[in-house]
């Protein structure tokens, strides 16, 4: 394990930024966002960013290719730009876990090369949480906020920052900043971990459990009478899906230009009325069906296809942002998911 004084943090950022674009949470009006580090950019102490870190690998919108027409000729233009090396600093344990969930979707055959390239070019430095919010419930899904993981794990105290490499990429990056860090024992980090463990027990959502859910439970929950009242006030907006670190659905669209089209893909939401519109019609015509789909996907279908892993990381963003305050915790409790 290595450490450095917080006074040296800007120097660490500068050194990392010499070889790759460095992104980190920055305080802005309306909440923290990931931004590219430049000299003077200060690291936010916010618990979490408004948008999740999935944007780094699966951006809200990206151009896939462009077609240009000239008379009867069609030129295909390569617009891809996912080959830049980058480092993301300050990713919380919940968002780190979300990458694993996205990997299982985008890296299985056929591999999504846009996502895969960004994954290959990115190094993730995580940050342990010391002040989880009342909306946090990562422990429900077995995530340890005190052991955030990724390529390098970090812990921050009032005066120092501690680094531990977990992967080869992490080792390499950590050795590149060796001049600014020193070896240390784990006493301070162990003390922080113990403190966080105590806090986690006190969180109001500590009793939420996924035990009732998982693969093979489709018939148990699909026709549950609770869906009707749970979904009755849903506006059908996309807030929950767009702030969610694990929602992965997208649409591919053509944008007409003067002399051709740009083919781009963008996040889509199962809450939208045209999400499942196909040539024959729409298979989900009511908001109840759309609402149910989102939660069944996270709690039943995803684990069914992924060895029991749930499709939620308990980051709490949807709890904070849903316009009507309806969310996965209320759904789980209503369906019996409380210890």
């Amino acid at each position: 394990m290595r450490k450095c004084s917080l006074d040296n943090l800007q120097k660490v950022f500068a050194l990392i930024a010499e070889n790759a674009s460095l992104y980190l949470p920055v305080d802005k009006v309306g909440g923290a966002v990931f931004e590219k580090w430049q000299e003077g950019t200060s690291y936010s102490n916010a618990l979490n960013t408004v948008r999740s870190a999935k944007d780094f690998f699966f951006p809200q919108t990206e151009n896939m290719m462009e077609f240009k027409t000239k008379g009867k000729e069609i030129e295909v233009v390569d617009t891809r730009d996912e080959h830049e090396d980058f480092v993301v600093f300050g990713v919380r344990a919940c968002d780190v876990k979300s990458f694993e969930i996205l990997d299982r979707v985008f890296l299985c055959e056929p591999v999504d090369s846009f996502y895969a390239n960004r994954r290959a070019h990115g190094v993730i430095i995580s940050m342990a949480c010391t002040r989880p919010s009342e909306t946090c419930f990562c422990q429900t899904f077995g995530i340890d906020a005190a052991n955030p993981g990724a390529d390098i794990s970090c812990w921050k105290t009032d005066s120092e920052i501690f680094f531990e490499a977990n992967t080869e990429k992490g080792e390499k990056l950590l050795s590149s900043i060796a001049a600014l860090t020193e070896d240390t024992d784990e006493a301070a980090v162990e003390a922080q971990k113990a403190k966080i463990a105590e806090i986690m027990k006190k969180l109001p959502l500590a009793g939420i459990t996924p035990d009732k859910f998982g693969g093979g439970k489709t018939s148990e929950f699909f026709n549950a009478p609770q869906w009707k009242e749970l979904s009755q006030s849903c506006l059908g907006c996309g807030t929950c899906t767009f702030v969610c670190p694990t929602c992965q659905c997208y649409d591919i669209r053509d944008f007409k230009t003067n002399d051709g089209v740009i083919r781009f893909r963008c996040w889509d939401s199962c809450m939208y009325s045209d999400f499942t519109k196909m040539a024959h019609g729409n298979i989900r015509n009511s908001q109840l069906e759309r609402f149910r789909q989102r939660f069944m996907h996270k709690l039943v279908y995803y684990p069914e296809n992924n060895e029991g892993i749930f499709g939620c990381v308990g980051c709490g963003r949807c709890l904070a942002k849903c316009p009507i305050s309806m969310n996965i915790v209320k759904v789980m409790k209503s369906l019996g998911g409380e210890a």
Binding site: V50, Q60, F242, I324
Partner: protein
């Protein structure tokens, strides 16, 4: 804190249910914490007593829910309306969006609603409970124990510049009637007008570039009640789910502001629900301010059936050229 309590509203609802005046109640359902209430339709006294709440965190405007709810079942639905909600209620009636006979409206006084984000700015995250006590809110936190915040300092932005404590629609009123207030709601618009064009462009660029196109502003908006929004219609050439460039994002919000101009009652729901905290209400307020200065004071929803200046014609109407000059003069 609110002058009217949940118990008083429950009592009213139960008596109306028992009398057969209404068949169900549109109200706020208790959440997981003390601030995350959900709009809910209560069908009986038991569920009302168990889950109905009314406190400093009940900002949601229920008027728009009436469009769908009045079509769902027999009998009247009881809706509790705060003064600002009654303007949306009237505007929807003006646009024939629901059957007035299917609603029993009870006006309730409002002391303004608290903004949980403002509370958290003071107390930090980790709130375990919130209790309103007079002009204070007692916030119990996981980390620092109990803290007191002044209710006035955590009022939602739209309540700070509340335009009316007077109800403009109801079947029955609980508590005392208030007055139309002398709000400073156009001050922020005036600040934007005082900017240079470049500054103003930079302001909106920085705000609207945060948009994630979740459509929550449109979906909550009582003025946005098209059965099929043009932006959600696959047959429409402008249907899209995300930005293809940042210019397009601005167009979405500007087009929406134009569409609701003259119909927006300035209820402020758009800014309340925006997950990115974009002050969307300022676009609408600019239109309201301009309509007031070009055509004389007009408040959408102040009465049912009024013809908004933008869809009416009088020989005294300002000439387009004059309006442009007046606009430029103000912005210079």
């Amino acid at each position: 804190m609110q002058k009217i309590t949940a118990d008083m509203l429950i009592e009213k609802a139960v008596s109306l249910l028992e009398a057969g005046t209404i068949s169900r109640v549109l109200g706020w359902k208790k959440g997981e914490f003390d601030y995350d209430v959900t709009p809910y339709v209560f069908a009986d006294a038991e569920s009302l007593k168990k889950d109905f709440v009314f406190d400093d965190f009940c900002g949601a405007n229920f008027s728009k829910y009436l469009v769908a709810e009045t079509r769902k079942a027999e009998g009247k639905v009881l809706v509790f309306l705060k003064p600002c909600d009654t303007y949306s209620f009237n505007q929807l009636l003006t646009e024939h969006r629901f059957d007035r006979e299917a609603v029993y409206a009870v006006g309730i006084p409002c002391e303004g609603m608290a903004d949980i984000n403002k509370i958290k700015e003071i107390t930090g995250d980790g709130i375990s409970s919130l209790t309103s006590k007079g002009d204070k809110i007692v916030v119990d936190t996981i980390y620092d124990g109990e803290k007191e915040v002044d209710f006035a300092s955590v009022l939602a932005e739209r309540c700070v510049s509340c335009k009316s404590k007077k109800h403009v629609a109801y079947d029955e009123l609980m508590g005392d009637e208030g007055d139309i207030t002398d709000s400073a709601r156009f001050d922020e618009v005036a600040q934007l007008e005082a900017m240079t064009e470049d500054e103003r462009f930079a302001f909106w660029q920085s705000q609207l570039s945060k948009c994630i196109r979740c459509n929550a502003c449109r979906d909550i908006c009582p003025a946005c009640t098209c059965e099929k929004c043009v932006f959600e219609n696959p047959e429409s050439p402008v249907e899209n789910k995300a930005i293809s460039d940042s210019f397009e994002e601005k167009m979405f919000h500007i087009i929406r502001a134009f569409h609701v101009a003259g119909r927006c009652t300035d209820c402020g729901e758009c800014s309340r629900v925006c997950p990115q905290n974009i002050p969307l209400h300022l676009l609408n307020r600019k239109f309201i301010k301009d309509i007031n200065s070009f055509y004389g004071e007009y408040q959408a929803g102040a009465e049912v059936g009024s013809r908004a200046p933008l869809v009416d014609y009088t020989t005294e109407d300002i000439e387009p050229g004059e309006a442009v000059m007046k606009g430029e003069g103000e912005n210079a």
